[in-house]
Assembly symmetry: C2
Homo-oligomer: 237 residues x 2
């Protein structure tokens, strides 16, 4: 069984969009709606748990969940202070029979069913992998600095990837990694970093360039434009 | 004297836009036009050398240089096979009296006079700096992989910057770095990496999020949208 946790914000939102960024409207829908729709439409996904701000469960349910009328959406649960706590709340709500758990940022609306399926397939096809992370080789020259912004090192961009979501994991590896992080008080910037730290093997796969995360208010117009362009082009990954 | 080298492509273009990406039209102008306009309008810039594909000097001159009618534009010269060779061709064409040399990608059209001035000022205000690079702290979780894409390490994102242009340098430090790179056969992914390798001190400063580089054809629509939004908002950095 393949279970998805879509993380659409806890109580620690910082971005100043009224109502949390996942409620910013894109083509008349909250941002979260688009990621949920992609997961609901993906044949590789059996169930979905959505994690939202605990004060806004009813609002997200009405605007982003109910319109999809998807039997796959198992629960809408409240998140915590950090992304990591929110994912943990999602993990608690998915089926105990999950073999694969796919975590996705609700603020990445341009995810497609094809890309979700590809991440799951890659994980299942590679016995040595505990996790598969969608991302892309770095487009930028990256520099490591000291705390004052003075460059220490220009990194070799050929082996640096930007990690996005979805991130697909063997369920036991992800649960064990969260248990270990909880015991050790470790916090990572993504789910894979917890699995890596717990000794798991994680692989990167390249996704399309437009799988961006809504981060600042200006991104709303950008995402609307990309969604409109995609509709014109027809379906594609 | 502060001299700018705007690099708009050599003979090694890879992107498949007809005529080189700097000839893609944005609001009726080639992409290069916008960066040139910003440098021409910047009070901190005294002269500008433009580096283009050697077969297209007349075309770029007619479409991107002449319409600006700027006395600051000293020369339009042909570039080489690599970006590094193209910058070197630009360095050969600027005044021997340059104290500061600012290098910029012609494919970053959203650069503003205010940001160029800020980079130059930061360099001049910091005696310990040989170069100042505009960029931003990494938005992404970054992972270092092996050649097969298996994650070795999740980097500490707080000290990783994405480097863009403009990059401003003390002229002697940049010329010495290019000389050394030529002798050693070293190629870097940006100009700062040559200065760093030659023992120079480089500082990062944060630019606006929209200082993107036209890289794939889809970026044309994105850049048009960002330029239109900027016009609506009025001038800003």
């Amino acid at each position: 069984m393949n279970s998805a946790v879509i993380v659409a914000g806890g109580t620690g939102e910082r971005l100043g969009l009224e109502g949390g960024k996942q409620l910013a409207l894109i083509a008349g829908h909250p941002v979260l709606y688009f990621a949920l729709a992609a997961f609901a439409a993906c044949e590789s996904i059996d169930e979905i748990v959505v994690v939202v701000h605990p004060d806004r469960i009813a609002e997200y349910t009405a605007t982003a969940v109910d319109p999809l009328v998807s039997p796959k959406i198992r629960a809408v649960v409240g998140g915590g202070m950090t992304r990591q706590e929110s994912v943990l709340a999602g993990l608690a709500a998915i089926s105990a029979h999950a073999d694969v758990i796919i975590v996705h940022d609700g603020a990445r609306p341009l995810i497609t069913p094809a890309l979700i399926a590809r991440a799951v397939r890659k994980l299942l096809d590679d016995d040595s992998a505990d996790g598969v992370v969608v991302g892309h080789p770095s487009y930028d020259t990256l520099k490591q600095t000291d705390a004052d912004g003075v460059v220490r090192l220009t990194l070799d961009r050929d082996v640096i990837w930007a990690a996005q979501t979805p991130q697909a994991f063997r369920a036991d590896a992800l649960r064990a990694a969260y248990d270990a992080a909880g015991r050790e008080g470790f916090s990572g910037t993504d789910d894979a970093s917890l699995v890596e730290r717990n000794g798991g093997s994680v692989r990167m796969i390249a996704g399309p360039r437009d799988n961006i995360k809504l981060t600042v208010p200006e991104d709303v117009a950008l995402i609307e434009g990309l969604l409109a362009a995609r509709t014109e082009d027809g379906a594609r990954e």
